[in-house]
Amino acid sequence: MSTTRQSRKTQPKTRWWPKLMRRLFLWGTVVVALWCVWIDYQIRSDFKSLQWALPARVYARPVELYVGAEQSVTQLTDYLQRLGYARSARVSNPGEYMVEGSRIMMRTRGFDFWDGEEPSTYVEVDFSGNSVRALRGGQMNRELAIVRMDPIEIGQINPETGEDRVPVPLEEIPQALKDAVIAVEDQRFYDHFGVDPIGIARAMVANVRAGEIVQGGSTLTQQLIKNLYLNRDQTLRRKIEEALMALSLDFHFSKDDILAAYMNEIFLGQQGNRAIHGFALASEFYFGRPLSELDLDELALLAGLPRGASYYNPQRNPERATIRRNVVLARMLDLGYITKAQYDVASTARLEVVTPSSSQQRSTRGYPAFMELVFRDLSRDYDANALRTEGLRIFTTLDVAMQNSMESVLANSVASVERPVPEGGTPLEAAVVITDASTGEVRALAGGRRSGFAGFNRALNAVRPIGSLVKPAVYLAALESRQFTLASVLADSPIELTIQGGEPWAPRNYDDKMYGDVYLYDALERSMNLATVDLGMQVGLDKVDEMLTRLGHPRSVPEYPSMLLGAVDMAPVEVAQLYQTLAANGFRSPLRAVEAVTSGDGSPLERYGIATEQVADPASIFLLEYAMQGVFERGTARTSAGRLVRNLPLAGKTGTTNDMRDSWFAGYGNDLVGVVWLGHDDNRDTGLTGATGALRVWTDIMTELDIQPRRNPPPQEITWQRVALQASRSPESRDCRTTQSLPFRTDGLPDIAVDCEDNGSVFDRFFDRFRDRR
């Protein structure tokens, strides 16, 4: 060791220095060359496979216009504003509209739907009150049968990077925008080879003259590289690498490819954790309109943003943004891209951007509860990564107008029924599910009383006992067995049941009263617990469980007698499924939030159509519904009848659980099914019954939505018969002095003990058969 060291020391410097230098230089050249090859390889492969992760876009159900459609001038105007249509003095371009009294004129933008393209067209809509009176349009302004508007985007499923963009090919980018960007960022773009020494020199001179940085020396190519590899540190080595990459990029790819990538990649704004990339999305973001609809001044404003998207943000710093816009315009004028006249007009135009306080804010908050349902439905068929990166378009069943109306009353309505909250207690919470009565499409959803806010989604995830909401299943099972009629007499009297190895169970009525012998329909209308247990034990717990399954409950229920009174746990959305099947007259259609999925370019991928299966016979359903309408007329929901005069008859059921922990109401008209749940997250008692809590909220919502009355024509085998007003168990005690008319199956007439039909004449009986009480 020591000898070697010594021998080295003794060697004269002049002998080893040049040799080492030569070696170092040789190896250095090899290393640099390899580095170059590596960078070149990297940039080529990266750019070639440049594939942005695109968020899935989620759309609400589009408004359809036709004669008779429920739509008012105000509603359609709101809708157009949400879509970013511009109100103008004359309608010439897509996305413009004007209002004249009860008439709206517009040119639609057109949209690629799953079932075909809706072309952009001129439309005139005449309204009379809350409906469309006439619809004309097209070039000849003839009558149109139906026009489908473009859909409102209600949210995105974003990539983890938070980057959002709408990539567009270069041909779809207005020439003026390309000119503006080149003018202000890299005027020798088409002449240099990736880096631009001349441009740098020019910029330096300009900056020195101006005393501040007015021009940059980076080419568009270099800026693109910086954006694509944004996370790397800005070291000297990195900068050399960037320059080399720019040279390589410019060498291998055309100027148009680079410009197109730049236009789509560049960062142009931030909204929460969503990063706005690319000019097409920035156009939507700042102006609420597509690039093709922007004027020169607006394009120039966008072109000024890459220099500092935050500093020149037109929403927050309109003055700076205006100055910057005019700098861009001046550069364009200098370089001959625009005329002096164009410059004069554009540079004095008023800055009009979408303010974050209006529709943008709403769409940021969005519809988190409904979106969770969408995500849950989609995750059966799509993995999360595909949803975050493939740019899918997801068409949902959400009715934005209905959702907004529901939200507008929900918070106040819940507050109006809420009992004082004790110190440290959680506030009363709510969940609402509204579906289409015919097809099972979910049209509105609230996961909490303040429905615009993300959080625990009670509509999907609060699985609670449903109380008396289970009773229609008990009564339907009874009516279907053919052993019971609406006039069957039940015993509302004390009962004690002992389950094997369990405590004896002695249910009570809610009001602690006992009603003795009661009619079946009356027991349901007034929600009598003891009579229901009497009925359910006769029908059989297995039959009730089976009925719940047929109506759409996904899990089997433990068959204890307490299930008859609602010791069955369900989420509000599951309750909605049961009542959906009842509202559709015994046809079960699975609830749906997603209708169709297309790829980003509009080609169809998957459709989730209506499915329907008959699970209960129409006559039994009709009889059940007689009693469920009676809930409003005579039963537990009659307190709301006064407020629903315009909407009755309706069918529904109240539900209250032990110690008033949950307050439920589920009901339906011809068009809608609505389920409302109220309760505390800590399961504390609410002090509310179904009637004093959820029913009131339901009524507030349904009067706001103007639910359609329930008009259900009786099936052929239904007949009407008179029975004694008082239930009795033997013909001897039959009292036909006061009677009532009830529907029966022709092969399931009332028992002789209550039948008062014999007391009438033959003519009366004949007449009764054809009498339609509703």
């Binding site: 075909g116 009565a437 329907t612």
Partner: protein, 219 residues
């Protein structure tokens, strides 16, 4: 600006780079923007073919208030058109003169409709022209003619949203599912159609015939 100091190095590097990259020149220039649609890892599992129990006894009800069609007469046997429309089926156009549904560039070539019912013509009801449902039904016919049955189903469902109690629309949806050989679905829609058919005996007969075929095929 900060890069200014390194221009000399860069110019040197450029020479090297050109040498380095010369080998790859022949590979051609890719179009980066268009490549985004290239790979698709979407997993689509069709959720179809719900298994249903056998047909439940079904009875007719009085028709609900119809928003359409105002029938212009009792359809006779002359109103029945062949299931597979002739090849010269007129293109469906909106009143603007623009095609309502234009074929998509990306769509696969339309498959020849599989005619599973050579002797089972689609029953047609006269529709009042100019109503939303009649316009949509015209599009349904056109989609069926092009063999795009799922698109036809989507259009029929759109019409049903406007007229949810129209027996004829439910019947058409049942017929489309039958053509798609989704027989249990077809039976479900046919039963739904029956429940709204009311006193329309001709329609009731057609629905029952379709229901029978669907139940037979589903077995």
């Amino acid at each position: 600006m900060q890069l200014h100091g390194q221009r000399l190095v860069l110019t040197l590097a450029l020479v090297t780079l050109n040498a380095c990259s010369a080998n790859y020149m022949s590979r051609g220039i890719p179009a980066p923007i268009e490549s985004r649609d290239g790979s698709s890892t979407v997993t689509t599992t069709p959720r179809m073919g719900r298994v249903m129990p056998g047909p439940a006894p079904t009875t007719s009800q009085e028709p609900a208030a119809r928003t359409f069609p105002a029938q212009t007469g009792v359809p006779g046997i002359d109103d029945v058109t062949p299931a597979t429309p002739p090849a010269t089926y007129p293109p469906v156009t909106s009143s603007t003169g623009q095609p309502v549904y234009s074929p998509r560039d990306s769509a696969p070539p339309a498959p020849v409709p599989q005619d599973t019912r050579p002797s089972n013509p689609v029953y047609t009801q006269p529709q009042e022209a100019g109503t939303p449902a009649s316009a949509l039904l015209a599009s349904v016919d056109a989609a069926i003619a092009e063999g795009e049955l799922e698109r036809a189903a989507a259009l029929a469902e759109r019409a049903l949203r406007i007229s949810p109690r129209d027996a004829y629309l439910w019947y058409r949806l049942a017929d489309i599912r039958y053509q798609q050989q989704r027989y249990t679905d077809a039976a479900g829609f046919a039963q739904r159609a029956l429940s709204f058919a009311g006193s329309d005996r001709e329609l009731t007969r057609e629905i029952n015939a379709l229901l029978g075929r669907s139940n037979d095929a589903a077995r």
